[in-house]
Amino acid sequence: MTFINKLKDFAVKSPWLYRINGGSCNGCDVELATTACIPRYDVERLGCQYCGSPRHADIVLITGPLTRRVLDAARRVYDEIPDPKVTVAVGVCPISGGIFRESYAVCAPIDQYFPVDVNVPGCPPRPQAIIEGVAKAIAIWRQRL
């Protein structure tokens, strides 16, 4: 049992990130790209890697207030992600709707539709705040594994 636990400790050092854009204004997506591309923030130190396919993902980052049009697609993509997975809402849009709150066109907050685990408020959040959120998500992921 301890051996398996040890392996799991190693496994959580490789969280692969996948981002779902739920109709975001792209501000948050740019900050997500920043965490990976700008040397100063470098999320790869945690072993993270942005992957192109939802099937490879461990941690899902959802941005945007989930517009009505994208709701169905986002839910389908979310279901493609193999368990165990952790969901992170990035930006105030998915958490509460932010600036788009109570608009007829958005379905925010997204926790009505997805089991969100970690929230990273901000519009957009600072890249370091996103990294902090990912670190929190990793801790949750360890318990799920």
Binding site: R45, V120, C123, K136
Partner: protein, 166 residues
């Protein structure tokens, strides 16, 4: 061949990465992040509530006074509230550590209470707000401000009128 010099420089200089999350993070001094509120300075004008584009600020009348709540999970860090606040009771700090787990979602609130007080002149119950004195000429002295503060709005008006005539 620009990229080759870049490679050489990076190899030589080493990484430019911040130590965060394995150590303290560098934060710009003027970063606009978490809203803070100081009930002592608030005038109770509720301008911030009106101008907030995200509807993050809410004032509520309670038996104990008036509460201020700013939900960080919907504040967009625009700074409008601070800009319009006459006394800068509501301010933006540069603290960006807002990431939280889902269970704490509705606890991400900046909360403040402007308590009730008893007016020293008429004995009515009124809010202990900071008096709006910035545009009054000649400027009020410290003691005058504290005297003004201890009164209800009606008595404050009376106080100021009597000050003008005298």
């Amino acid at each position: 061949m620009n990229f080759l010099t870049l490679f050489a420089r990076n190899l030589w200089h080493g990484p430019y990465t911040d130590v965060f999350p394995f150590g303290p993070a560098t934060t710009p001094e003027h970063l606009r992040a978490r809203i803070t509120f100081d009930p002592k300075q608030c005038e109770g004008c509720r301008l911030c509530e009106k101008v907030c584009p995200a509807g993050a600020i809410r004032f509520t009348r309670t038996p104990g006074g008036m509460t201020f709540d700013c939900w960080h999970a919907t504040c967009v860090f625009c700074g409008t509230c601070e800009f319009y606040c006459p006394t800068k009771a509501v301010k933006q700090s540069n603290d960006w550590h807002l990431a939280h787990e889902q269970g704490e979602k509705y606890a991400q609130v900046e909360h403040g209470l402007i308590p009730n007080q008893i007016c020293v002149e008429c004995g009515a119950k009124a809010l202990d707000t900071s008096p709006a004195v910035s545009h009054i000429k000649p400027p009020l002295s410290e003691t005058e401000v504290s005297e003004l503060r201890a009164r209800c709005p009606k008595c404050r008006n009376k106080y100021l009128r009597s000050r003008k005539t005298s």
